[in-house]
Symmetry: C2
Subunit: 218 residues, 2 copies
C-alpha cells in the first residue's frame, strides 16, 4: 500500500484519484478551488484547499513523505512549474506532472519531474491508432519489430476454420496466445479450435505481420 | 487508405491528425481559429478555416463522404454538440466526438456519436494504473478474469534463474509468451532461458496472478 498526493483535481487528477482509491490506496487530494475539493471530499482519504505554488504549503503537507506526487494542474503553467520544483526540492521521490504543451513539458523535465504526461496528445495518438486498425482492439508494442495484439475476426472466410487450417503461424509468423469467445478466454488454444464470427484472437509476432493479419481479418 | 475529417485542431485533434498523416492517410483539418489551422497547413492533406457549428459548413465540405469524422472541439460544448448532430444528419458513417465531462458525453451519445472519448479522464485512469503496478509496463485486459502484461524483472532473486526454475507456469498459472532482453524480443522463449536483471517478460493468464507476479518481481 502506497501514499499518493494529487495536486489539481480536474478531470485528469480526479480520474487518477478515483482509480487509486478504487484500488485501496491512501490519497490526499489538493486543489485551490473549493468546489473541486468538495467533489472529492467523500472519495479521497483526505482533501485540502490550498494554492500549491505557495512556498510553505507543500512543506506543511509534508509532501516529501508521499511515495508518489502528481501535479495535475493545467492552465496555470506557472503554478504547475512552481509546485513541481517545490515538491522535488522538498524531497518528493516520484513526481508526475501533466504538461499543457511541448514547451511546458521541456520545462517540467528540466526541473526534475520524474514523469511528464500530455493526456490530450497521448489520447489523440491512441485514438488515431484505433481508427487505423479498427479490428485491433488493443495492442502492446514489445519493441520496434514485435507487437502483441487483440484482433477481432469479422471476415467470413475465417469463420468456421480452425487455427491450424488458417495456418496463422506459417503464413503470418504469429503465435495465437489466447482466444476470447463470447467473453470467455481460452489461453493457449488448441490448433483445432474453430474460429467463430467476432472471436477475438490475441497474437504475438512481428509488427508488420500483426498489421497484415489485422487487415486480413476485415 | 481511408479519408478522415478532423474538426478542432487543439492538442487532441492535432495529435490525432499527425498520427493519421504519419500512417499515410488523407486528412482534412478544420478549425475556426486561423492560427491553429496554420499550424497544420503543411501537415494535413488539406485545411479549412470554418465554424463547424454553422448549418451549411459541413454540407459544403461534403462531410458524409469521409470514412471517419472526428469532432475534437473542447470548451465550446454547444459547437461540439451541433457539429456532431449535423455530421450524423448529413450521413457521416463514423463520428468520433470528444467530451468535456460526463453530461456532455451523455448528450453526444444520445445524438448519435459512434464513439465518445474523454481524453483527460481516460489518461487519468491509465496513469493511476501505471502507478499501482510500476513494473507492469503495459497490459491488455482480455476479459474480467484474464490479462496479458509486460512485467519488468528487477527482483534480484529472479535474475540468473531460468523460466522453468522459477516455475512461472506452475506457481502463477502464467504463460511466458515473449522476453525482451536489452531491446531484443524473443517470442516463445525456451524454458531454459536465463532471466537477466531488467528483462521484460510478456505473460498471459488470470488477472490476479498477473498482478501477484508483478508484485513478486519487485
Ligand atoms: N495553484 C494551484 N494549486 C492547487 N490547485 C490548482 C492550482 N491551480 C489550478 N489548480 C487546480 O488544478 C485543476 C486542473 O487545472 P485546470 O482545470 O486549469 O486544467 P485542465 O487542463 O482543464 O485540467 P483537466 O484536463 O485535468 O480537467 C483544477 O481543479 C484547478 O482548480
Ligand atoms: N465552432 C468551431 N468550429 C471549428 N473549430 C472549433 C470550434 N470551436 C472550437 N474549435 C477549435 O477546437 C479546438 C479544440 O478546442 P478547445 O481548445 O476549446 O478545447 P481543448 O479541450 O482545450 O482542446 P485540446 O484538449 O484538444 O487541446 C481549438 O483549436 C478550437 O479553435
Amino acid at each position: 500500500r502506497q501514499t499518493y498526493a494529487i495536486i489539481g483535481l480536474g478531470r485528469f487528477g480526479g480520474a487518477l484519484l478515483e482509480t487509486l482509491i478504487a484500488n485501496g490506496q491512501d490519497v490526499l487530494g489538493i486543489d485551490i478551488n473549493e468546489e473541486h475539493v468538495n467533489e472529492y471530499r467523500d472519495i479521497a482519504t483526505q482533501v485540502v484547499i490550498a494554492d500549491a505554488q505557495e512556498d510553505d504549503v507543500l512543506r506543511k503537507l509534508d509532501i516529501a513523505s508521499f511515495d508518489h506526487v502528481v501535479i495535475a494542474i493545467g492552465h496555470n503553467m506557472q503554478a504547475s512549474i512552481l509546485a513541481t520544483i517545490n515538491a522535488k526540492d522538498l524531497g518528493a521521490k516520484n513526481v508526475i506532472a501533466k504538461a499543457e504543451n511541448r514547451t511546458h513539458l521541456r520545462v517540467l523535465t528540466k526541473i526534475g519531474a520524474d514523469l511528464v504526461v500530455q493526456p490530450e496528445r497521448e489520447m489523440g495518438e491512441r485514438i488515431g491508432r484505433k481508427l487505423l486498425a479498427p479490428n485491433m482492439l488493443n495492442f502492446i508494442e514489445l519493441s520496434d519489430d514485435y507487437s502483441m495484439a487483440e484482433v477481432q475476426i469479422v471476415n467470413p472466410t475465417f469463420t468456421g476454420k480452425t487455427i491450424s487450417e488458417l495456418n496463422i503461424h506459417k503464413k503470418f509468423g504469429l503465435n495465437v496466445i489466447a482466444v476470447r469467445h463470447e467473453g470467455e478466454v481460452i489461453v493457449a488454444p488448441d490448433s483445432k479450435y474453430k474460429i467463430h464470427h467476432k472471436d477475438i484472437l490475441s497474437v504475438v509476432g512481428p509488427k508488420d505481420m500483426v498489421d497484415d493479419f489485422d487487415q486480413m481479418t476485415n
